[in-house]
Symmetry: C2
């Protein structure tokens, strides 16, 4: 007898509809039963608090969030499963019969990817029939929360590296095998120079980097033989990992290869000391052009220390710390109802207050283009500054061409350069000024906030 196949947990991108919390479906059924499903709802997505050690966020993930949103749907099979749930046993059959025809048909306004953003300001706004707007909550947050977290971490790492290239090595240590795509993209848009993730590089056009693992050396048993074999196969792209047995002996073996190799990689030990010693060995062997790549649980603090110590490292491979955003692995992104049929709605729970009404965010800059603060207004107010939210989806269709990954990356670089100095650097703890318009304040007061 052939054993049964393991359950395949890769979803069909055509049927992502039930990647959501059950309560979205109970509410959708309830709205239908209460005649409210088609009321025009306005939900806004924002972050409540900055994670620890962060002074800004880089907004990311919009392209995939929107792409998936536009084809979000249920299959017949998925609808049949829902009908079988005891929790939904009193829901009329018509609800389940209509599910396979449900699509998102609303509007989405959003801040552009690669923009520097802050807690308490609207990042994305959904205007849609209430049931549809409710349905997409879980998916939208799940799609935007993580890329924003990684782009933010990556921006900090890039700042710390001060011009040295940073490469995403995180694929294996992400939260499951899908995360590598999202991390490679978010890191690249925030200034990383590339990724080791082969399929992410193919799909997204990101430069791909790779050297060798310790197993290459071990499988030959002899380091010199292993190095020579690699240099034969990759004559123009030889980066050798030198720390399998004795690091400096490894550097000497690498320096002896003819023609001179492109780079060595250090992956353990005191990287500052080893890099200095390695540089000395390489230079003595007339290998001034051979670069040094370092890796080994690097993060922005360690990289800043290495740069400060003058370690002659040319580029950094960053894995676990980047892909898990290890010091701040969670982001308090939420999606809240702010209006029904244009009338403001609030929630008064302690520490979870939300301003009512659809909003716009205006960013103000000084004469040198340096950001001075954001002003949040009712959507139809016009004030000084650059309005950050624009319409990206109208009536369930893409409203405009989304920017390319390269142009998002350019935007991010300009955005970070425009931050106040007090917000930059690895140890920054400053607050960026966010203010709310009188119209919002008075509506909030009227509703008891």
């Amino acid at each position: 007898m052939t054993p049964q196949s393991p359950v395949n947990l890769w979803p069909d991108p055509g049927y992502l509809g039930p990647i959501t919390d059950l309560y979205q479906l109970t509410m959708m059924a309830g709205y239908a039963a209460s005649g409210m499903a088609d009321k025009r709802a306005t939900f806004e997505l924002f972050v409540r608090r900055l994670p620890d050690h962060r002074s800004y966020l880089v907004f990311a993930g919009l392209e995939q969030a929107i792409g998936d949103l536009l084809r979000l749907a249920f299959s017949e099979e998925q609808a049949t499963y829902l009908r079988s749930l005891p929790a939904l046993s009193h829901v009329p059959d018509s609800f389940f019969e209509q599910l396979p025809y449900l699509r998102f048909e609303g509007d989405v306004w959003s801040i552009a990817e690669g923009t520097v953003v802050f807690p308490g300001e609207t990042l994305l706004r959904v205007e849609a029939p209430l049931a549809q707007a409710q349905w997409v909550e879980t998916y939208l947050i799940a799609s935007l929360n993580y890329p924003t977290l990684v782009a933010t971490k990556a921006a900090r790492i890039v700042e710390a590296a001060q011009g040295r290239g940073c490469i995403d090595f995180g694929a294996r240590r992400g939260h499951g095998p899908h995360v590598g795509f999202l991390a490679a993209r978010a890191a690249y848009l925030a200034g990383f120079v590339g990724t080791s993730h082969v399929e992410a590089s193919r799909l997204l056009g990101i430069p791909v980097y790779g050297t060798m693992a310790h197993s290459w050396i071990q499988s030959f048993g002899d380091e010199r033989a292993a190095f020579a074999a690699f240099a034969r196969t990759f004559p123009e792209n030889t980066t050798l990992l030198v720390d399998t047995y004795d690091t400096l002996e490894g550097v000497r073996h690498a320096a002896a290869i003819e023609p001179p190799i492109k780079a060595i990689r250090l992956d353990s030990g005191d990287l500052a000391e080893l890099a200095k010693a390695a540089r000395g060995i390489l230079d003595s062997a007339n290998r001034q052009a051979t670069k040094i790549l370092a890796s080994n649980d690097l993060n922005e603090e360690k990289i800043a220390d290495l740069v400060r110590a003058g370690a002659p490292i040319d580029s950094f491979g960053v894995g676990t710390e980047l892909i898990t955003s290890r010091d701040a692995p969670a982001l308090s992104m939420v999606y809240k109802l702010v209006a029904i049929d244009g009338v403001g709605r609030v929630k008064l729970a302690p520490a979870k207050r939300t301003y009512p009404l659809a909003k716009q965010v205006f960013r103000r800059s000084d004469g040198q283009g340096r950001f001075t603060g954001d002003h949040v207004t009712r959507w139809d107010e016009i004030v000084d500054g650059e309005p950050l939210l624009s319409c990206v989806v109208r009536e369930g269709r893409l409203a405009k061409e989304l920017p390319t990954l390269e142009s998002i990356r350019d935007r991010c670089q300009v955005q970070i350069a425009a931050l106040p100095d007090s917000l930059r650097g690895v140890d920054s703890g400053a607050d960026y000024p966010i203010t709310y318009s009188d119209a919002l304040e008075s509506e909030a007061t009227r509703l008891g906030l």
Copy 2:
């Protein structure tokens, strides 16, 4: 002009081959060029260190890791992309032409899912042609690292809850939209009672739970009307969220519903105080059967505090902290070459030493079935104790029926109950004894470790 569609990052499960690091491909090409691709390699997967605040790990993710491994493949298009990479420009065409025919044809030995495991012991062993064993490294680690992290976190939360039900509410806060599947499964196998994730529940047969969001109340504007409408739609399954405006007023509104509702949910404020006050209100209204569900950034410490404080909470919804394993979001799972053609191989890099040779792990117990320590041996040694690794894949095919999720869940419960008392509980800091056989020690010494 229709705007271009956003890039779809959902992979076809039939072509997961290039979800790997580029260096695996450079090495595969190098092994081919050096006539080593078909040498028999033994790689072992293990964890280097326990994450902070952990005294054991729950091994999880095997079913999906194996399922994907058995169909890991490259498409023609993916192979063509690889051929175009400058980094692989000297690799002969034959390498790329053969890629679409490459499959994993080796053997896999593994510890069973749901088993309690420790750093330094082999969790999974791959025996395969060197190039194949190298190829699958990134995918295997990415598939096992995260589920093990979440199952471990979940087991701690279940311990803290002391019999009260814990429900996975994490879908929106995971690292991307795919993570919810993996988290729902890992949490359930470690003792959670269910998930809010609709599609995970369908695919995996996990009980699904859901109530309502604040937006339900807000969309009606009036709490009593919102509660009444929900109770009408879900007469047998009414759980009402009571903290949108004033929590205790919300409890009074919920207690007034006829017939009595199933539960209320608290999602903000001082949960211990509010639960006591809510219980009082419910009991006074003759609602003794109405349960209290609590949520709001809960983790094992907060739950232990609530239980210790005697908070009358019947179940816990746990989201962000579970799905991100927030206090320990990374696990140092590695996959190392330990033998070529049966001959031991080692790596001597500081703090990254690895015992050579294929291994088996024997678990010893006392007369009461309580675990006393694990003994790691060469694969062919036979000693006292239960051997933990068994063959799950032979020559690229499933070697035996994998256990059902329910039986993995049962195993996990038995395993945790068999841990030494010193390792259980939220604050445990004890070490579990791991020893290595004389045969392994002497081979390690011989190789210079």
